[in-house]
């Protein structure tokens, strides 16, 4: 059973590696540089998938938390925990990539624009989530508290989104999903291909990492169980 799942994980990892390399090739070599921004625009191929993955992650935290409150099964909590950690990782990556892109394009590393602020707040919420987990000793209580925060935090996202947007907005208007044009009309087709490949690569990489992190959680549970058995 374990050997089989390890084999599946190996395949997933290999697949992720291949697509990541392929997407690097496509986005760095095949896709043309942007007409206005030049080479630096290529960061978009990392930036956009990583924030989408972060949102996916927070959605999984919400699902895992809800299921855990409902059914009380440890695996749902392990999923939420793993997803939260990866969500924090990908949100941080998004902010760093954005800064690197913002410096030559906007002239500043950071600006208090709505989307940047929202991303930073998400990072703060889920770092708080991880701290909460680590500061409660009892496993089940930590899981319960974290599940509540996972749900409340996700419910809060639309409200934070609305409020920071009303507050200010300066970010690039979305360049792919625009109301006035279809995606393939305003973006060079090979750019769109690069973005799609890169998104698939990130998705595969994400699920590979998630399965690894989930396994670490399972192993942690096994260690606790063994310890209890030995009465130590």
């Amino acid at each position: 059973m374990i050997r089989q799942s390890r084999k599946r994980k190996g395949i997933l990892g290999a697949l992720a590696l291949v697509t990541v390399l392929f997407s690097l090739y496509w986005s760095l070599v095949v896709a043309p540089p942007d007409a206005y921004q030049g080479e630096v625009q290529r960061i978009m191929y990392l930036h956009l998938p990583s924030i989408l993955i972060a949102y996916l992650s927070y959605f999984l935290v919400f699902i895992g938390s809800g299921l855990y409150l409902w059914k009380r099964e440890k695996r749902d909590d392990l999923l939420a925990h793993a997803a939260a950690e990866l969500g924090v990782l990908f949100t941080a990556l998004t902010i760093i990539e954005g800064s690197v892109w913002g410096r030559p394009t906007w002239g500043v590393w950071w600006t208090w624009d709505a989307r940047l602020t929202l991303t930073a707040i998400l990072l703060l919420i889920y770092v708080g989530y991880l701290m909460l987990r680590s500061l409660i000793e009892d496993e089940n209580r930590a899981a319960m508290a974290a599940a509540v925060l996972g749900i409340i935090g996700f419910l809060d996202i639309p409200l934070i989104h609305m409020s920071v947007y009303w507050w200010r907005t300066l970010h690039q208007p979305p360049s792919i999903l625009r109301p006035d044009k279809l995606p393939w009309e305003n973006v060079h087709p090979s750019m769109l291909t690069a973005l799609t490949i890169s998104f698939v690569a990130f998705l595969l990489l994400y699920f590979y990492l998630l399965s690894l992190r989930y396994r670490v959680g399972e192993m942690h549970q096994e260690v606790i169980a063994r310890r209890l058995e030995r009465g130590a």
Binding site: L69, I121, L124, I136, R141, L155, D156, L159, I160, S163
Partner: protein, 225 residues
């Protein structure tokens, strides 16, 4: 009906405890006043700038004093396993949640009733006639703070360093309330009316309702663990 009766009883218990111990209200009130003094030294509060800074400063004071109250909110339940006793009784989790949120709301509103006029006096703000609008915004924001704060206070109940952890998890979630109240108050102080900032009031109301409902629904799980 039972829910309201249980809420009333729990609220009465907390009020009675507070009247006898006088822990939370006095410390919160003193801390709020102290913050006004600290602000005076930290910022250059010239009369022409103060109206622009007042909303932010007031909300900082409320956030900090409110957190002080929240950190003490379940103190009585922590002592002598009182929470376990409550859980054994046929008490609805929703009632406990409502009572605790209402209790913290009462404490904060009492502090605000003193601190806001004091702010007007200390920093010579002329617009006394705008106080009702300011209080309305503050009340809506404070309800949101207490509702979400009670939930966060309950989930950090058994954490190490919980007084430090509470603002860490609470403040990022409070950002819609902070933004909405400050924008609204700034508009009122500048123009004398809400104008097109009424949308913020709706956001505040939505925030209060969403988390009040969520809290009532999940509080049973929050405390039983």
């Amino acid at each position: 009906m039972t829910l309201l009766r249980q809420t009333g009883l729990m609220l009465w218990k907390d009020t009675l405890l507070e009247l006898r111990r006088r822990e939370s209200l006095l410390t919160m009130f003193f801390f709020g006043t102290l913050l006004l003094f600290v602000f005076n030294f930290a910022f250059d509060l010239a009369p022409d700038k103060i109206a622009g800074m007042a909303p932010g400063l007031l909300w900082l004071a409320f956030l900090f004093t409110g957190t002080l109250g929240l950190a003490q909110l379940f103190q009585a339940e922590r002592e002598n396993h009182n929470l376990d006793a409550l859980l054994l009784s046929p008490l609805d989790g929703g009632a406990l949640f409502l009572a605790k949120a209402a209790f913290n709301l009462i404490l904060m509103v009492l502090v605000e009733i003193v601190v806001i006029p004091l702010f007007w006096i200390l920093f010579n703000l002329p617009a006394w006639n705008l106080l009702p609008q300011i209080f309305l915004v503050t009340l809506l924001g404070t309800v949101g703070f207490c509702v979400l704060g009670t939930l966060m206070s309950a989930i950090t109940l058994r954490a190490r360093a919980r007084e430090l952890l509470l603002p860490l998890v609470l403040f990022p979630l409070m950002i819609p309330v902070i933004l909405a109240t400050i924008r609204c108050m700034a508009e009122v102080l500048r123009t004398g009316q809400f104008g097109d900032q009424v949308a913020w009031l709706r956001l505040l109301l939505g925030f209060d309702v969403i988390f009040l409902t969520a809290g009532m629904l999940i509080f049973d799980w929050v405390i039983e663990s």
